[in-house]
């Protein structure tokens, strides 16, 4: 865990309000694992006051890491206006990564921007002997990001859109049962509603999965107990007990 100035070396707009940033920060890039995040102070002003968390999208393991983010409010808006060369105040890597399980199939389920931590996970799953299938659900075709990179990396990809503008029409959770199989390892990230439905279906099938959650963070390092979610034996902190949780542990 480091606090440092990461140099923004590349900023790409993937769509209106959606960006990929590449940062130079060896300390973070070397140790980041899929599912972990960085916590960025977008402004030295007191508004917005808190850091903004972003999953590590990928890391070259040596010098650079990337994030994928969507402009939601003031914080991401300020971040999106930064130009290459900017030094960005960054704490990371933070949180518990995905545990790579030796399933016969790696079933990776992404909802919207939830693809970010999973992209990094899939980079690592590539080196494993089992095939990886990504179920990628978005509202509409324009919200599909990084598909070329995903395809190029050899991931098997099934797309779902709410409006049928690409892939299968419908929600990824409507079809997920078709892809589950005994012994598969399931990893998911997306809106809370999706995670809930998904977890229910996964558990009904006698399986379990790892899910990455989001929440409003305070400290980002486990000190404030502000970011908790309900787990069976009380509350767990998203920032350091998560963001990746075993679906078994969570209570919805």
């Amino acid at each position: 865990m480091h606090k440092l100035l990461a140099k923004l070396i590349d900023a790409q707009a993937l769509a209106s309000g959606v960006f990929v940033h590449t940062y130079h920060a060896p300390e973070i890039s070397r140790s980041a694992e899929p599912g972990q995040f960085v916590n960025i102070r977008v402004s030295s002003s007191v508004a917005p006051l808190l850091r903004r968390p972003f999953s590590v999208l990928s890391s070259d393991g040596r010098e650079q890491f990337r994030i994928l983010f969507e402009v939601k409010g003031q914080g991401t808006e300020i971040l999106s206006r930064k130009q290459p060369g900017a030094e960005v105040d960054c704490v990371g890597p933070l949180g518990q990564p995905f545990q790579i399980k030796a399933g016969k199939l790696n079933l990776v389920i992404a909802g919207g921007m939830g693809v970010a931590p999973l992209f990094f996970l899939m980079q690592q799953l590539r080196t494993k002997p089992y095939p990886t299938l990504l179920l990628y659900g978005v509202r509409t075709k324009a919200c599909l990001y990084l598909v070329d990179e995903l395809v190029a990396s050899g991931v098997q990809l099934q797309i779902f859109t709410d409006d049928g503008s690409a892939g299968q029409q419908g929600m990824v959770t409507d079809f997920v049962e078709e892809y589950m199989q005994p012994g598969c390892a399931i990893y998911a990230c997306g809106p809370m509603e999706m995670i809930k439905v998904l977890t229910h279906k996964v558990h009904s099938a006698g399986l379990e999965c790892q899910v990455s959650l989001e929440n409003q963070l305070g400290c980002g390092v486990g000190a404030c107990l502000g970011c908790v979610v309900k787990v069976h034996d009380g509350y767990a902190r998203v920032c350091c007990d998560g963001p990746v949780f075993d679906s078994n542990a969570l209570e919805f």
Partner: protein, 303 residues
Amino acid sequence: MPDLEIQIGELTLKNPVTVASGTFGYGQEYEAFYDPSLLGAIFLKSVTLEERPGNPPPRLVETPAGLINSIGLQNVGLDRFLDEVVPLLEGIDTVLIANIAGNTVDEYVQLAEALSDCPGLAALEVNVSCPNVKEGGIAFGTSADMIREVTQEVVAASALPIIVKLTPNVADIVSMAHAAEEAGATAVSLVNTFLALAIDIETRRPILGNATGGLSGPAIKPIALRMVWQVARSTNIPIIGMGGIMTGTDAIEFLMAGATAIAVGTANFVNPLAPVEIVKELEMFLEAHHHTSVREIINVVEG
């Protein structure tokens, strides 16, 4: 190098920069950033007699230059605090101050007794922002009489110096500090958070699971600073000042207003290095102004 040491009653702090209860856990979480022994003191997160699950989430909401929290005193309770937390503190070479919270005077007393002989603890901070269940749930800290009673009992129950942490949700902070002073407190901490609310206009409900929470951060600094100044001018009790301190300048304002030490709270979240940077900025200010000791700038504002 100017002398940063300060004295609060019988407590000696290597410097006046401490961290506020509930914002620094039990000292472990920030070890990745710096050695917590560099701090003047650490105020540990509140402990209660019984384990508390805390409030339902969401527990945090950001506001203009502020943060509302409703953690709800989540903690493992006294027994596990003694068994599990206290051993973790061993390596930290600074003044460690436990913070106790209760819903009855008796709970405070039991906590104070149990923690008195606890190795490593140098003092107790008494969080009086909690509802007094015997008085219909009105916070102890909003009545001088209740503050007097709790303080007296805790002082009697413990050999450790007692620091009373006052709530700012009062009309007259001076009378609250007076009550603590008269009842034998070694110092007062000023201030806890301001009761606050945020609403989600789409769901038409409070954002926090607990509806209201406590506002902290730079937004409250001007009010907290006023309270420190008022108390410093009207009492003789040492003050640990806090509320929105982000920088060395903020810390110096509190010291000049009359605080003998200051605590960094929400700023830890924004800049995990804030406390050590504040120590450095304080040192630089003293040097630039040819002071040999930080004590020369404490309580110098008249106005």
